[in-house]
Symmetry: C2
Subunit: 336 residues, 2 copies
């Protein structure tokens, strides 16, 4: 077997079969996947199901704190989780540029397998395509995920009320800043890691304990906390006021962002969640989140009010207040 | 709004939102999709579920008989269908190269919507990423699909028995040949269309009427009929003998393939199914298939026997017999 991916690996013929056996079955192997049918077929109980998909086109594909494979599992696990679902089954579609080294693909598959194991999700079906040199950028991965939503869960922006609190599970902008540093070759000595992580182990206990207090959740990925909160509040007729002093940002991240004229509120996160919750339980929810390593820096960052309609406001340290809009244009392409 | 896709359309910010509203919601709009959450959430009854995914990287993206959007829906619908499932929910992940015209994206979305409607599948969740010029080839689409398998369905290669018949739903190689002609710019006057079609309306009646007679099904896409049959028979200890005279190939397809040194048995199909069935019901199954336009040329092409182990043989018109192996190397890259 050559040490690089060739077009024949995507032909559907013998080399595709060998790639599947030698890499994907090796790392992802489970009874459903190994059936090798056109679809994975499994039994399901009646109830509410969540279904989501994301494609990952991040550049570079290896970065401090993870790689595109880890990201592709975390992202879909987190999308299911913030919908109130327990992640169950995952599909993976690989689009590979001719010439990717098999060793790199193997590292990516290994990270996917590890992360899936941590999240308790099973990779049950997949697909591999190969395109000519210059027709993709090394590797793109799509994952689609299925999860089951417990009957007691009812998350919706319609549940948001004036007085609710906005909780963030940790520091802003770690992923975006880590990728920026990798990419720009800035010669900045830095220990900033992507926060890329599967959040279901942190969020499930919160949902179980504080079922009716959690209004809605979102993972602030592309466009960061600012964009995610704007999306959540749009159409509710309510506004969110964030306290600048309360916004958690690592010193190193703040430094890099200042240097480059970036705002951490718009920087992508891949291991954080925003929770809008009943104020009566907000402190308890924060405490529960802190019990999990991924939530150790959880904090209340703002309050919902009915002062303005569909706006996110920042109450600054200096005592002023300004509107925080959605991201316009593209701060940093291919961040996930 | 500019008339081309820009990186900002993939930022997760305002332009992404506008693209979703103006194109995807416009064509795919349904209650589940319009909820706009991180996942689609729906009720499901207990039973057997099928889950599958495929990425589509075909070049060119528009071709006689379809486009990449139609293909992306048909392919996943067919993968569910040959697993014995009724297609229910579909996800779509778009990876778009900067510069694709919005009008082209709209044509693709329109074809997806039409095909999904025909197949009775609902597009409930999606994702859009944009990469820089030169980092993808116009557009790649991933679809993942969910379907429900009726209790009475039990498809498995383990059910194949010596004496079973091999049925093909129509002519071989139409898709592959149509794409080849588009691509090579051969100046051949041709009316060859891709056979790209959703097959559930043809297959569901067969499964319902001849439940226990159908052993297993497969759609012969990449690698064609030859590769699909090799995959099915591998590990069974049985062999398949195909009758060369019975293999249905359009005259035009045969002509083009001969001219280019291609074998239609290895050419991709996107609207055909192979069914291995109990010989006692094979003729009835063919008749049922013929009632549907997509099965009008259905025919028995061969027989399973225990003469050889894990082999596909071709019994030629001249009275000889030769082994038909899986595709080795890549006959035609990016056929789907």
């Amino acid at each position: 077997m050559s040490d690089s991916i060739t077009l024949a690996h995507g032909s559907g013929g013998k080399l595709t079969r060998r790639l599947i056996n030698d890499i994907f079955y090796k790392y992802f192997g489970n009874d459903l996947l190994l059936e090798g049918g056109d679809s994975a077929v499994f039994n399901i109980d009646n109830g509410k199901m969540a279904f989501t998909t994301d494609s990952y086109v991040i550049s570079p594909i290896f970065f401090k704190g993870g790689n595109i494979g880890k990201l592709a599992v975390c992202g879909t696990v987190n999308d299911l989780t913030v919908s109130g679902a327990c992640p169950k089954y995952l599909s993976c579609g690989f689009i590979i540029e001719e010439g990717l080294r098999l060793q790199e693909l193997e590292m990516i598959a290994e990270a996917m397998a590890e992360t899936a194991k941590e999240a308790g999700i099973v990779i049950v079906t997949g697909d591999t395509k190969v395109v000519q040199k210059g027709c993709a950028d090394r590797i793109f991965i799509n994952t689609a995920g299925i999860g089951m939503v417990q009957d007691y869960v009812n998350l919706s922006v319609k549940n948001i009320r004036a007085g609710d609190k906005v909780i963030l599970s940790g520091t802003m902008g770690d992923h975006g800043t880590a990728i920026l540093l990798e990419r720009e070759n800035l010669k900045v000595q830095s220990n900033i890691l992507s926060d890329c992580a599967p959040l279901n182990s942190m969020i499930e206990p919160v949902l179980k304990k504080y079922t009716h207090a959690v209004r809605v959740m979102r993972d602030p990925t592309r466009g960061g906390v600012a964009t995610a909160l704007n999306e959540l509040i749009a159409g509710t007729g309510l506004s969110i006021t964030l306290k600048e002093n309360f916004l958690p940002v690592r010193e190193e991240v703040r430094g890099v962002c200042e240097m480059l004229g970036m705002n951490p509120m718009y920087m992508a996160n891949e291991g954080k969640v925003l929770i809008i919750a009943d104020s009566a339980q907000a402190d308890n929810i924060v405490e529960t989140m802190k019990e999990n390593p991924y939530g150790k820096d959880a904090v209340i960052i703002g309050t919902v009010s009915d002062t303005f309609s569909d706006k996110v406001l920042l109450s600054t340290a200096a005592g002023g207040s300004r509107i925080i809009d959605m991201l316009t244009g593209d701060q940093l392409p291919r961040i996930c």
